[in-house]
Symmetry: C2
Subunit: 309 residues, 2 copies
C-alpha cells in the first residue's frame, strides 16, 4: 500500500479509502500498476458499472451494501469465466452528497475483495452528479468457461435458488418491504467463484452468470453456441413464495447458469459449497434460442431485465 | 469480434459500437475476456474516468474528440509507466440525449485505440444522467517507469511544449475562442507511448504524465521518491503566448515529466519523435517537494489543477 501521496483533497480521499482497505489495497500511487501473479494460466478481465438510479437506488440499500454489491457484480463476471480473482481497479464517481458515506462504501468494496481473495490495486476518483462505481476485475483461469461452448445434448444447470432479487426489487418499487431472505439476496449476492471452478473441472462446457435473468442469460449461451436451449420452468429452483416464471426473469442473481456434457453430481456440489445445483433443461439443435416448458407444454418465455429501453 | 449477441436494444448499441470499431475490437461477447499477448514482460493496468461537466463540457468538444480524449488520457497512464498498450475495456454511461452521438464517440475511441496499437476487448454499457467514459487500459513493459525512482542529482525533463490545454480551458471558460493550436492540444492530446519507452531505455529513473499540471505531477515524483525537485520555470517549454507559470500549471497535457540519471540526447529524441525534450530542473535532497525558480529567484509554485475542491 503506497501512501506516499502529495497533500490535497483528492489525495485525502484516497488516503481515507486506503485506511479502510489496509492490506487489502496494494501498489496504489503510480499512474498505472504492475500486476503480479498472472503466471498461473489465462488472464481474464472484465469491467462492470454500478450507477445510482440505474443499477441501484440510494434509499434501497446501505452505502456499505452499494459498495459490496458493485464489486460482487464485477467479480461474478470472473466467476462466470471460471477465473480466480487477482486484482480490482475502481473508478469511483463521488458526488458531494455521498462524501460522508465513502468509508462505508469502501468497507463494502473491501468486504467483496476480501471474500474473493483479490487485492485493490488502483483506481481513479471523480466528482459527478450521481454515484458511480466502475469495477474492473482481473483474474486467472487454468480453464475458462465461455458462452459459446454448449453442444447439442448438453444438460443445463443453475446454482442457488432464483427469484430473491427480482422479488426484492418488485417489493421496493411498490413501497413494500421485501422479506429478509429476498432482501439479502438482492443486497448481498455471492459471486460463485469456487463453484465455477468446480463446474469447469467437472464437465461444464459453457457458462454465464445470471445477471439479466435466467432466460435472458441462457439466451446468450444459446446464441453464442449456435444451438437451442429447452428450459423446464417447473425445475427452476426458486426462493419461497416466488413463482418459477418470476424466478426465471429475476436479474442480478449472480448465480451460475452452465451447460455440461455429462450428469453432474449435484449432491457432492451442494455438500461442498452449501448451495444447490439443479438440472433445469437441455441443449438441442433448435434455432429459436431458449424455449420454455411448463407442465410439459411450451409457454412464452418470461421476459428478463432489458437494459436501454 | 464476436457479434453473436442476442436481440435487444442494449445489444443493438453494442453492435453499433462494434460496427464502428471493426477489427479494432476483439473477443467481445462473454462475461469477461481472455487476454493474450501478456508474455512480453510486466503487465501494467490503469483505469481513468472522463465524466461530463467534470472532465469535459459538451459545448467545448465534438463527440469524436470526447471519445478520443477519454481514451488518450487513459493510454497516457500506460505511457507514464513506459508500457506498450495491448487492450482497452470501456464502461460507457450513455444518457438518452447522447445516443445520437454514440457513433462519433466510438470513432474517437477507435482512433485513440488504433494510434496506440491496442484492441478494444470488452466493456459495459449503462444509462445515466451524464455521459461517462471509463477506460481501463492494459499493457506490457520490459522496464517500467514509476514515480518513486528519482535519485538525488537526477536531471528533470519534460516532453512537448506546455500550456495549450490550460490556455484553451481558460479561453473557453471566459467565452473566448482558443487559438487553433491551443484547442488542438486540448482536444487531441497524444499519449507519448513510444517516447516513454525511449526514455526508459536511455536512463530515465522516474516518470509520470502531466495530467494535473507540471508542478503538481513533479510533486508526485518528489514525494514518492522522497527527494526534492528544483524546477527552473524559465526553462519550461511553452506554447506561443503562454507564460511559463501558466504552462507549469496547465493540466491534461499528457506530456511526460521524467527524471534521468544522465544527460539525455534531446536532439536525437526530437529527431526521432518530432517532439521536443527539455531539461527543466534537477532532483536534490530538499524536503519541500517541488521548489520553483524564476530569473534565479525562488518563487511561489504555480498551482496545478486540484480535484475535489
Amino acid at each position: 500500500m503506497n501512501t506516499d501521496l502529495r497533500p490535497g483533497t483528492e489525495f485525502d480521499l484516497v488516503r481515507r479509502l486506503l485506511a479502510r482497505w489496509r492490506d487489502r489495497a496494494d501498489g496504489i500511487g503510480d499512474d498505472g500498476v504492475v500486476l503480479f501473479g498472472l503466471d498461473g494460466g489465462k488472464t481474464v478481465i472484465s469491467t462492470d458499472a454500478s450507477v445510482e438510479n440505474v443499477h441501484f437506488r440510494r434509499d434501497w440499500l446501505e452505502p456499505r451494501e452499494i459498495g459490496y454489491r458493485a464489486t460482487a457484480a464485477a467479480l461474478s463476471d470472473l466467476a462466470a469465466m471460471a477465473a480466480s480473482p487477482l486484482a480490482i481497479l475502481l473508478a469511483l464517481t463521488i458526488p458531494e452528497s455521498w462524501k460522508a458515506d465513502v468509508d462505508a462504501i469502501a468497507d463494502g468494496i473491501g468486504e467483496a475483495a476480501e471474500q474473493s481473495g483479490a487485492r485493490i490495486v488502483g483506481g481513479d476518483l471523480s466528482e459527478g452528479r450521481d454515484l458511480a462505481i466502475v469495477v474492473t476485475v482481473i483474474g486467472t483461469a487454468e480453464r475458462t468457461l465461455t458462452r459459446s461452448g454448449a453442444r447439442v445434448g448438453d444438460r443445463v444447470y443453475v446454482t442457488g435458488r432464483l427469484g430473491g432479487p427480482g422479488a426484492a426489487v418488485a417489493a421496493l418499487t411498490n413501497g413494500r418491504r421485501p422479506s429478509r431472505d429476498e432482501r439479502q439476496r438482492f443486497a448481498h449476492p455471492i459471486p460463485r467463484i469456487r463453484e465455477a471452478q468446480w463446474l469447469a473441472a467437472h464437465g461444464a462446457t459453457a457458462g454465464t452468470d445470471v445477471s439479466d435473468g435466467l432466460v435472458a442469460d441462457l439466451e446468450n449461451i444459446a446464441v453464442a453456441s449456435g444451438h437451442g436451449i429447452v428450459l423446464d420452468l417447473d425445475r427452476v429452483p426458486v426462493m419461497a413464495s416466488v413463482s418459477s416464471r418470476d424466478a426465471a426473469a429475476s436479474g442480478e442473481e449472480y448465480e451460475l447458469a452452465i451447460t455440461a456434457s455429462n450428469a453432474l453430481d449435484t449432491k457432492v456440489f451442494e455438500a461442498e459449497f452449501g448451495v444447490p445445483l439443479t438440472e433445469i433443461g437441455k441443449v438441442d439443435d433448435g434455432n429459436r434460442g431458449v424455449v420454455t416448458f411448463e407442465n410439459g407444454v411450451e409457454v412464452k418465455p418470461p421476459a428478463g431485465y432489458v437494459h436501454f429501453t
